[in-house]
């Protein structure tokens, strides 16, 4: 038989493997061929270890022949280059981590391995996950597979491009302010940001510790539910992971929305957003209504303050987290330093790219003496108000429907000289990270130019089943989207 990875989902691959219609080695070989064929154009991967992937696949096939089980046995997956995968590079797309080899597995990665997954390669991203277009990678630009003149979104742009471009079945991303949901929307795939604390962050190179979450980027909602089920749970190695029971997310995918109340936050449908985005999202809302959901208008009054709040908190935490990159213990070290202070300054100057430098300076500034109260402490107070907004609306409804991004994908190079303009594009996604709630991005149409548009479904903390159910029912009713036509 001839295998095609392009539209293959995890669930379809599992069925093929269980039905003995193919082996994991065959699956991985086809995938590696596709990467060789496509990735020169798309630039989704930073590193692929072919021999290691094939030996993992052989081990999975052997385990299957011995009757061993695993929810992902033999399934090849891609991982964003910010997560430690033992024995493989983990650069965070930064020159400062060039040459670093991960000495251990991130917990999320270890949980995929425990279920038999084959880890094929590590995907490109904005350096240290700072950016919304993957143009800030220290190594290369990733292209949007739906139209290679456009950005794939970011920061998990490599993962989204690999999945949408047919060179991965599914991938992991991370989301600090929309970095899973927005690239999924830009590339036309599904992205899930779980609740803060749902998945262990151990082994995830920290950008903003109170906002970061790991999550899946997949071809459909069901696959996202499968991967969440594998990775969710309390981990002793991450004291912020929470001991909340992990439900069987697949049973929540009922296919209808009967009895569900969905809120439309009026602040997420505002002047200035792309009319094609608004039209596609409004059409999706009607589809949800037709599936039995009751749709109500709600209000999140502090939405307008979210970008300021987010960029103060995220840069403050980043400036502290990135202090560890000093050239002493790992990664790049600049030559010719006279003393350690000189070594830090030179190493960081040569190792970090422009966006990372900007955010370190901004974060150091808002934490510095005399400015801490005005910026950082105030932002933490606004965070309370934003969190309260969500607590209030989730007393009225089970989930919210919004756009993922106010725009469709833009051309490569279009916003890279105007950082504030890029930050403002995160307005609909940063709120979920500030409030610690869960969010899902599901394709809901395309622009007149054939570029993808995403629907965001936001849910209360630890109620991923709500947004998976809504996203799955909508996706099933929506039908196929043929991008570029």
């Amino acid at each position: 038989m001839s295998l095609s990875i392009a539209n293959m989902t995890i669930c379809e691959a599992i069925a093929l493997l269980e039905g003995k219609q193919c082996t994991s080695v065959e699956l991985v070989s086809v995938l590696l061929n596709e990467i060789r064929r496509i990735d020169g154009t798309l630039g989704a991967y930073l590193s692929v270890d072919e021999n290691d992937a094939v030996s993992q696949a052989m081990a999975a096939d052997k385990a299957r022949s011995e009757g061993r089980k695993g929810r992902l046995l033999g399934i090849p997956l891609a991982v964003k280059d910010v997560l430690n995968v033992r024995g493989q590079p983990c650069t965070c797309a930064s020159k400062i981590l060039q040459g670093y080899i991960a000495p251990y597995d991130a917990t999320a990665v270890a949980m995929l391995r425990r279920e038999g997954a084959v880890l094929v390669g590590r995907t490109n991203m904005d350096e240290f996950a700072m950016g919304s277009s993957t143009e800030n990678s220290g190594f290369k630009i990733t292209k949007n597979p739906r139209n290679i003149a456009y950005v794939p979104g970011g920061s998990s742009g490599g993962s989204a491009a690999a999945v949408a471009g047919g060179e991965a079945i599914a991938a992991l991303g991370t989301d600090t302010g929309g970095s899973i949901r927005q690239p999924a929307a830009f590339c036309g795939c599904v992205g899930l940001k779980p609740t803060y604390g749902r998945i262990s962050r151990y082994g995830l190179t920290a950008f903003a510790s109170s906002l970061d979450q790991i999550g899946p980027i997949t071809k459909n909602v069901k696959d996202a539910a499968v991967l969440l089920g594998v990775m969710a749970g309390r981990d002793e190695m991450d004291s912020t992971s929470v001991d909340v029971p992990v439900p069987d997310y697949l049973t929540s995918l009922s296919g209808d929305l009967k009895g569900m109340k969905l809120g439309l936050p009026k602040e997420y449908f505002v002047k200035g957003m792309d009319p094609e985005v608004e039209a596609a999202v409004r059409t999706a809302v009607e589809v949800c209504g037709g599936l039995g959901a009751e749709v109500v208008e709600v209000s999140l009054p502090h939405t307008d303050y979210a970008i300021s709040t987010y960029y103060i908190i995220a840069t403050a935490e980043a400036s502290a987290n990135l202090a560890r990159f000093d050239g002493v213990r790992y990664g790049f070290r600049a030559a010719g330093a006279e003393d350690p202070i000189d070594m830090y300054g030179k190493t960081r100057a040569a190792g970090f790219g422009a966006e990372v430098k900007r955010r370190i300076i901004l974060g150091t500034y808002v934490l510095s003496s005399g400015y801490y109260d005005a910026y950082y402490l105030s932002a933490q107070k606004v965070r309370t108000l934003i969190k309260r907004d969500f607590e209030n609306v989730f007393m009225q409804c089970d989930a919210l429907l919004t756009p993922v991004s106010p725009t469709v994908p833009y051309k490569i190079g279009e916003t890279s000289s105007d950082p504030l303009r890029m930050y403002l594009g995160d307005i609909f996604t940063v709120t979920a990270n500030l409030a610690g709630i869960c969010g899902l991005s599901v394709p809901c149409g395309m622009s007149s130019q054939g570029l993808p548009i995403g629907l965001q479904v936001l849910g209360p903390a630890f109620r991923e089943e709500n947004i998976l159910r809504a996203g799955h029912a909508y996706e099933s009713a929506r039908g196929l989207i043929r991008y570029g036509e």
Binding site: S239, P340, G345, A349, A354, A374, Q380, T384, P419, L420
Partner: protein
């Protein structure tokens, strides 16, 4: 609350803050960042519109306190695994430029 240093908060001293962050910047970078960061900091001041006098700060979305583990010794990474990534080393120790004369 946000009344403090109202006139001095308007401009960020990029070169000084970069020194605090142990980050050398070229003169051209200082210039570029100055314009961009003034623009961004100006936008961030939007939160001054809000009355925050009776609002408690949120440092984490999930309130957790005193997360402890059993006080037992557990294996960590082996020395050679840790040292494998060192840019420079001598006898299992990280080597850095001389600190004291």
């Amino acid at each position: 609350m946000a009344a403090l240093d109202k006139e001095t908060t308007d401009k960020i001293d990029v070169a000084y803050v970069a020194r605090l962050a142990r980050l050398y910047l070229a003169d051209t970078e200082v210039q570029t960042f100055q314009g961009q960061l003034d623009h961004i900091v100006g936008y961030m001041k939007k939160i001054d519109e809000l009355d925050l006098s009776n609002v408690e700060p949120t440092s984490h979305a999930v309130t957790l306190q005193n997360v402890f583990r059993e006080d037992v010794v557990k294996p960590g990474l082996a020395v050679e695994q840790v040292m494998a990534n060192a840019p420079a080393q001598v006898s299992d120790q990280f080597q850095v430029p001389k600190i004291i004369e």
